[in-house]
Symmetry: C2
Subunit: 460 residues, 2 copies
């Protein structure tokens, strides 16, 4: 005899689905109190649901409220951040406050049962939190992130980033990609450089992965097309609005490409699916931020770096940057403006960056080995991706490593992958926080990280 | 004028879809050569596709093979792990080798173009790799993981784990959960104890997260129901077949529960969806391992720990463990056997573990505060999950912390979450590698980690 049996019924089915509530329905829901406004005749209680706020109305004469012990209390006794179960009737409404998601209904409360109260009546007023680049505003929000996330705009940000991550996986699975999970504790750094976190691993020095670059290339040798959604680490000492020391990297790598344009095409199709999904599923979130999703036309322009310098100078759009080996920030903005005006595109590819400025695994352009088959994707003036074709021959890796003063012996397992055969391949990575903040028009990328990490912050 | 435009056509559409190939179709595909077998009249070439192997037939008289330079070569010149593009006609076949996924067709090759060769003709023979618990076999495989993963059985493992992770997310999104991404660099350890990796973070000592426990509870205060798929770290010094130092944790936490049984019900529904999805999408993979998925009936038995001790002793199924405060391994096996025989279930819940053996955040049983509202889920004799209801009142946390000699000041942001109000909640976590290895009947959990990390291994 078992003590009890666990049934496989749909959990908590006695609660109502707010999204499908219709006028006249009797409804029973749970939620946290986001705000209380008391009037002479009763008042309004705003309930927090995962997808947004809902307004309910208390009439002192017809609404009963009970505390945790079952004793009757008044609306004055209810504080923000109290967990309640509420019963009532759905009425139609026309609510102007755009932070309220369910703006065409309100609930006429018949009964509220308090199930858990905060331990203070002085809870943080998350409704009063501002979106601002002011350092002290940001610091207060991040210092109190465990509660400040309950603010409707912060909640909206992470519904959008969750939607982006799921749309990313959904599209890639639909075109034959396999999801992989690769280690973040690594013995060899991929990108090199000083921006790597070191740690002790049972007496051996190891690193936190800056990217899954080596592992996703190995994955191509196994599964042709792979993607990963995972944290990546950069020991950046810059504390700016564009840097995070821990971020979520959306990584893609695909084999059997004919050129880097296959990779660029895949990225366009992927971004189109992501934009479409966010438009469909996050209209409330976009409205909260007055955000317009970027325009991604059927044909997206691609310029060689040298062409951009020429074009912008010849058209008098920027000072002379001809001969420079990277894009100046004013060029990034100018070429995006040019692409929008001439091609209706918020996206522009810049290709053929000089080899000396790209990672060692970038494939050299066979027509000009000082250049690489690599690209940056700009969106509305700022880079959102680096990508390109990779070297797939062991001897080409060895040659390039030696030219750069790297010791091939430090990359034994990586080189062994190519030693044992690899198809032509390429890929790219998108920072989840970066693309989320761009979509919503948020200027500080840290606002798009649930618990941001920077040189000064490692808590909460 | 742009250099070029990137179109949004479906990528690589000139290649054929093997899964939908029919007898008589002319087909054009790419892939890596898994194996070559030469005969007098030509031979067989096994092609590796992401979802399994495909057999092709060379007739020297009618098949043309060209190397990377376009020069004609013979089948003898083709080696394993060569990337090729192949054209031919689909014939029906009846292939007995169960490592070949496409066992009802074979391709009569008209043309092969080599696009990339390995740098050696002595590539690792991944087809010869064995599945064995022998230390030296495992060491060889893990030392050469960058190539040994190309073995059909290893490929199958990670198609199953990818399917499990996606089914996990799919089900939870369908019942209102929000996916979250929480930091792995943390300033406070959740589970406590010595098994934590330390690192330096700009002069401050920090830790790699053992679990997202604190953050997923915070997430419940925001989104009611949250899940995460992310790495977790345990600085385990044990090097056994059941330990990994870095693993993928499938984490769930839900608010507004009435009891821990809501959490247990959710887990049953979730596992039912995962099993169904793996059965549908991974039949080839299950066959490769002769694996039977576990039985999960509509009603799964749940026993209190004290009841299990009594039952097994009274039924003469184990020696006397009455009064002990945990399950003995022989009891785990015996109660699973009992549940299978009496209830047709490969799953059993054990509940009400003593408080002193559970984490501090476990809710005490109001009817007996020496016990907790916590559970283990056993599958086929081994624990696959710990879960339960959590404390949701700040004062209860402070009381329990002080009883345990913990300093509440070290948990400021965590306690502040409850200070500002939280609903009753609970959750659980499943190790992706563990459940994958159980589903496939693999005895060493490291085989279900793409790049396993243990006390002796941090590469590749």
């Amino acid at each position: 005899m078992a003590n009890t049996f666990i049934n496989s019924t749909f959990i908590q089915s006695e609660y109502s689905d707010v999204a499908n509530a219709k006028q006249g329905d009797n409804i029973r829901i749970y939620g946290m109190i986001q705000n209380v406004r008391v009037t002479k005749w009763g008042g309004f209680i705003i309930i927090r649901k995962p997808d947004g706020l809902l307004q309910t109305v208390i009439q002192n004469e017809t609404s009963s409220i009970f505390d945790e012990n079952g004793e009757k209390i008044g609306i004055n006794d209810l504080s923000r951040e109290t967990a309640i179960i509420l019963e009532g009737q759905v009425n139609s409404a026309n609510i102007k406050d755009k932070s309220v998601k369910y703006n065409t209904i309100e609930i006429a409360v018949t009964k509220i049962n308090v199930i858990s109260k905060p331990s203070t009546t002085e809870v943080i007023d998350v409704n009063a939190l501002k979106f601002s680049d002011d350092e002290s505003v940001l610091r207060y929000k991040f210092d109190n992130r465990q509660v400040s996330l309950r603010n409707p705009k912060d909640m909206a940000i992470f519904r959008v980033s969750s939607t982006i991550a799921q749309a990313f996986a959904e599209y890639l699975v639909s075109v034959g990609f396999t999801q992989i999970f690769t280690p973040k504790i690594v013995s060899e750094g991929a990108e090199g450089g000083a921006n790597v976190f070191k740690m002790d691993y049972f007496g051996k020095q190891v690193y936190l992965a800056q990217s899954p670059q080596f592992y996703k290339q190995i994955g191509v040798g196994v599964y042709e097309r792979v993607f990963e959604i995972a944290p990546a680490y950069r020991a950046e000492k810059h504390n700016t609005s564009r840097h995070l020391n821990e971020f979520i990297s959306l990584d893609v790598e695909m084999g059997f490409i004919k050129s880097q344009e296959d990779v660029m095409e895949l990225e366009m199709n992927l971004l189109r699916h992501i934009i479409k999904t966010v438009r469909e599923k996050c209209s409330h979130e976009l409205q909260l931020f007055d955000a317009q999703l970027p325009c991604l036309p059927d044909k997206v322009p691609a310029f060689r770096l040298s062409e951009v310098h020429d074009l912008l100078f010849n058209e008098n759009l920027t000072p002379d940057h001809r001969g420079e080996d990277d894009m100046a920030p004013e060029e990034e903005r100018a070429i995006c403006k040019y692409a929008k005006e001439n091609f209706g595109s918020d996206f522009v590819f810049i290709t053929h960056f000089p080899a000396e400025h790209r990672a060692f695994y970038a494939m050299n352009d066979p027509e000009d080995p000082t250049l690489t088959l690599s690209y940056d994707l700009l969106m509305c003036g700022i880079e959102i991706t680096s990508g390109g074709q990779r070297i797939h021959k062991e001897e080409d890796y060895r040659k390039k490593m030696i030219e750069r003063g790297m010791n091939p012996d430090n990359f034994r397992f990586y080189l062994d992958t190519f030693h044992n055969g690899m198809p032509p391949h390429g890929g790219f990575a998108i920072g989840l926080e970066r693309i989320t903040s761009f979509f919503l028009g948020i200027s500080n990328v840290k606002e798009a990280s649930l618990f941001p990490r920077d040189i000064n912050r490692v808590a909460p």
